[in-house]
């Protein structure tokens, strides 16, 4: 099956290893993965901060890049980026009827990574093995705003050797919220520290998720807690794609 891949800008900028793992998984499942080079970012940080018109400039680039892709199916590695394209772009383009129509059509071709594997490819066991205890952050965009609840859990539970440990309030926000993190650092810090405490309480070796921005936030907070003594062990932060690609 031929698919176009949308990694999201954080994967391109900071975490290429997540994108590499995802491509490995998709290819192993028989997908021919393509990626237009003229894409950078969905731009959601702009509209979420109130800068709708500025987001439109960024969004046109995404629409142009993926619309021309010959592959019908587009797989998004990050839930929040997909949510931006599917649910926010109609607002971003509210005064641009041409792009509004184009983005609506494009939105129908988008699938979130875990949802694509489980519901489109019909696979839950991707052949991974990961002998560690893992907890999963049910991120707001994947779980609540896209309504993808079961697929990531089904995938994790089929991984050989993986011991799943549910954290308390797994679907509570990690406090990232895009520019909220920078604009209201005191609040965002408090929210993510609480998220980290629930992660730590599970005793899991690994925290994983399907939204890269949350993982960056959680990783940054765990790292700070580790260095200032609030955390006395290493907890790995991984994207679910990295676990599905694992043989350990």
């Amino acid at each position: 099956m031929k698919v176009a891949f949308f990694p999201g800008c954080m994967v391109d900028m900071i975490y290429p290893e997540i994108g590499i793992a995802a491509v490995n998984v998709l290819e192993r499942l028989g997908c021919d993965v393509e990626m237009p080079d003229d894409q950078i970012c969905c731009g959601q940080g702009l509209i979420n901060s109130g800068y709708r018109k500025e987001n439109a400039t960024v969004a046109r680039m995404i629409v142009d890049a993926y619309e021309t892709s010959e592959y019908d199916t587009i797989v998004s590695l990050t839930g929040s980026c997909m949510n931006a394209i599917v649910n926010d772009y109609p607002i971003v383009f509210k005064d641009d009827p041409v792009y509004l129509e184009r983005t609506r059509k494009l939105g129908e071709r988008f699938f979130e990574f875990t949802d694509f594997i489980v519901n489109h490819l019909g696979v839950t066991d991707v052949g991974a093995s990961f002998h560690h205890s893992v907890t999963y952050h049910k991120s707001c965009h994947v779980t609540r705003l896209l309504g993808i609840v079961e697929p990531p859990l089904q995938l994790l539970q089929a991984v050989e050797g993986l011991e799943y440990r549910e954290m308390e309030h797994a679907d509570r926000c990690c406090g990232f919220g895009g520019t909220f993190s920078f604009k209201q650092p005191e609040i965002a810090g408090e929210v993510v520290y609480e998220k980290c405490r629930t992660i730590i309480e599970t005793g899991a070796d690994v925290i994983c998720g399907a939204d890269v921005p949350c993982l960056m936030n959680i990783k940054g907070a765990l790292s700070r807690m580790r260095s200032d003594g609030r955390l006395d062990r290493d907890i790995r932060v991984m994207h679910i794609a990295q676990i599905l690609d694992a043989r350990e």
Partner: protein, 486 residues
């Protein structure tokens, strides 16, 4: 306008105060957990029925918003037919003048009041006190706040930030209480002092959860019964009704009452429910002789005709506060509004205006938990973001941030610039991180970056772009004659 309080401090200062107050912080978090669990159990018990109720309530409430003038008129006509005196108040000030006129007409100087957000919204207590009128809050929590001269930290349970010891101390200091801090004992004391006030007060002032247009009735949902004393003891009664409290008929009331207590306090119903249709009738033994209804707009028509019209469905249950990951840390006092939390941001910004709210519209991660829990399906986080868009469009954002967002627009829409910035950015970040892979607290001197690194480490840009790897990967595949299929 009395929606906002403690405005001499910035939102950031108020938030810091709240985060440092461990008692308040923990009390709100614990209460939130209790509401969350209790509500969740009841909603689960109803199965699909909950969603059906929500959809029905949305239909009903939208219908009223779309035909607001019709229902305002119908309610007013029927309430008048029941013998109530109607006062239409386009603004809060109009409402206050009407109330002062009623007191003057009766030469009244003493009033009891049950919890009412509309009276808070217009700052009624202060105005009456300045006019020499004594007014006593009779809702336990509101009485605590009035006695302590404190502000509400939650719309449904406003004294959440005081524990039993603090409450006992407040009454010891201000009202001569001599008992212990056992809640029953404090309540008994309060009951005793309030009973005298009920007997003596000339005017009872109350709010209204829902106003039924077809019958001209006003309703009161309470758990303590003091509201019922307010609406039956004093000879003169003043009812504050926001025009967004109106519902068409008793059937709609049934729907709303199934949603309200479950969403507010995680209970199937409250201990007291009053449906009042006019003053005491001939031969009736209790109730007021005169009922004045202040039908107040105070910005609601404007909201009904704006992109925030969904907000008129709100029934002030507080479910969004009880799930909000931000509210649980900063409490109502952080927002500095009588309407805190997610619904509070939408309403406060909508009613008080963007010049008044500091950065409140940005004190939200847009996680959407509020909208998911809202019993009347208000897309609260979308409306918060709509406020942000309006703030930017109206040029009410901070000028200093504009170049940053314009920079991001350029950076994310121009590949050569993006790639150049990536190439230049890594060595700079590496240098700041002193060779490590993440910026730590030593980078808090850098503007913008400090927003993140004051509480979290920030990973340095990777050495290669994912897109670079991907191109190489495809080349490799082409060389090996593999299209990815295995």
């Amino acid at each position: 306008m009395s929606i906002l309080y403690n405005t001499d401090k910035t939102l950031r200062e108020r938030v810091s105060d709240c985060l440092e107050d461990d008692f308040k912080h923990n009390a709100i978090r614990t209460a939130q957990e209790v509401f969350y669990v209790k509500r969740g159990e009841l909603v689960e018990e109803m199965g699909d029925g909950w969603q059906q109720l929500r959809l029905h309530s949305m239909e009903v409430r939208n219908h009223v918003t779309e035909n607001l003038d019709y229902y305002v008129k119908q309610f007013a006509t029927n309430a008048e037919a029941n013998g109530c005196v109607m006062h239409y108040a386009p603004t809060g000030d109009d409402a206050l003048w009407e109330v002062l006129d009623i007191f003057e007409k009766h030469g009244a100087t003493y009033a009891v009041k049950s919890k009412s957000m509309m009276t808070e919204e217009v700052g009624l207590n202060e105005v009456l006190e300045n006019a020499g009128i004594k007014i006593t809050e009779t809702d336990c929590a509101e009485n605590i706040l009035q006695t302590a001269e404190s502000k509400p930290s939650h719309i449904v349970v406003p004294a959440l930030h005081f524990n039993r010891d603090a409450i006992a101390d407040i009454y010891r200091e201000k009202r001569g209480y001599t008992g212990s801090s056992v809640p029953e004992e404090i309540t008994h004391f309060l009951r005793k002092i309030l009973r005298d006030e009920f007997m003596e007060a000339e005017v009872g002032i109350r709010g209204c959860n829902f106003a039924v247009a077809s019958t001209g009735s006003v309703t009161l949902v309470t758990n303590e019964g003091n509201g019922r004393m307010v609406d039956s003891f004093p000879k003169v009664q003043i009812v504050f009704v926001g025009i967004d409290r109106i519902i068409p008929d008793l059937e709609a009331l049934d729907t709303m009452l199934a949603l309200l207590p479950r969403s507010a306090v995680g209970a199937k119903m409250t201990a007291y429910f009053s449906l009042d249709s006019g003053p005491r009738g001939a031969g009736e033994v209790d109730g007021p002789e005169e009922v004045h209804i202040i039908l107040m707009d105070n910005g609601r028509h404007t909201l009904a005709n704006s992109e925030f019209k969904d907000m008129l469905r709100c029934m002030r249950c507080g479910a969004c506060l009880n799930i909000c990951p931000v509210y649980r840390h900063i409490t109502g006092h952080g927002y500095g509004s009588i309407y805190p939390g997610p619904m509070g941001i939408v309403l406060t910004a909508g009613l008080a205006g963007y010049d008044q709210i500091d950065t409140m519209a940005f004190a939200c991660s847009l996680c959407g938990a509020c909208a998911e829990h809202c019993p009347v399906g208000i897309p609260i986080h979308d409306l918060i973001r709509q406020h942000r868009m309006n703030i930017v469009e109206q040029g009410k954002n901070h000028a200093v941030e504009v170049p940053i967002f314009k920079g991001l627009e350029l950076f994310w829409s121009n590949k050569p610039i993006y790639l150049a910035a990536m190439k230049a950015g890594r060595p700079v970040m590496k240098a700041i991180a002193r060779g490590e892979d993440a910026l730590d607290e030593n980078s808090v001197w850098i503007p913008v970056v400090k927003g993140w690194t004051s509480t979290r480490d920030f990973d340095v840009l990777s050495e290669t772009r994912f897109r670079t790897w991907f191109k190489e990967h495809k080349k490799e595949q082409a060389k090996n004659g593999k299209g990815g299929e295995q």
